[in-house]
Amino acid sequence: MRLAIVPSVVCVVLLALARPSLAQSPSNEQSPLQTFNASANADQPDYFGKKSVPQKVSFRQAKPRTRRQHIIIASLFGGALAFGGIGLYFHLDSRDASNTLSIAGGEPIRTYDRAADSLRDRAFRSRTLAIVGYSIGGAFIAATIAAMSMTQPGDEIISIDDEPAPKNTVPVSVVPVRGGAVVGKAWSF
């Protein structure tokens, strides 16, 4: 197989040397046959009889944020998560203490001793801390949204001209043949 490819490569290289026009044909990273056809028939009508007219393709693309902006936004969001987590922790702690202590009505079934009083204090203290945590977390979320809005980089319009590739490009061709493929590359001197 290797022995069969080597002569073929040599053959293609020689062919390219013999035909400079092929070596100077535009490369648009298509198959070598297409490259050859595009080069050979650039000014010819296409299959439907329409003459190839260069076209300009434009599209809108969001610009990326800078690394510094990404860090600021991530930090703000991280702060929101952290303070939200702290708020949630104290929220659950307060809820547990409250549920332990709460008796809606009926006969007395417990003594309001020092431990119960401490539990009540804990419920209210954790409630306050939960509110503080949620508030700061909410402020961080607002700041994150504001930062995302303020650092919005906007869009950019990218245009691609359908022009022939520069003429000094050199195609690399891979041509499937029966039992293998022919790989060729052309250079000009």
């Binding site: 202590l101 709460s102 008796i103 809606a104 009505g105 009926g106 007395p108 309001y112 119960a116 509110i131």
Partner: protein
Amino acid sequence: MRLLATALILALAACTPEIGTGTYFCGPERLCPPELSCDDTSYTCIAPSSVDPFVCPEGFDDTEPDDEMSTAQDLGELDCGLNLLQAANSCLQAGSGADYYTFTYNGNCQGANPHLAIQMRYPIALVPLQLELIDGNGTVVATGDYCTQSNDSSGRESLCIDTPPVTGTTYFVKVSRDPDGPDCDGDCDFNQYLLNIAFPLAGS
């Protein structure tokens, strides 16, 4: 956003203890949640508007005066295996002294462990009490130890005395204020109590 705020408010609302009136016994020195007050007679935490001043149980003064050994309430003779006094509901008013009870033991009871079992229970909301067993010479034979069960949620403290009696002895049981106990700075220097005096022949 509005939904989130509503959910947050509802969630935080569950973080406030809901303590209904009359659902808790008062703690030491009339301790109650701030929104409730201690009712001295029922020693429960209730709405402040419903609180009544302390009143001793009806008939508590039928045995008065019993503030000294010489005027102690005489319970008679201790019988083998019987209860001498069961759930006697009595009271120490503000400014009053101690309550004394007396009985004699002349028998010679047989059993695995014949012993005096004296128990007193009182609300912890008011001034703490103390319990003493005194012989005829005025010597303190035993003092009450705290024997409240760990899961007791009755709002009461218990004091217990367990001691074998000596034949031919006259005993006095003294109920008085704990001089070291908190009394709301003198504002709750009174209490009620339940007293049991039993004489089991076995058990601990």
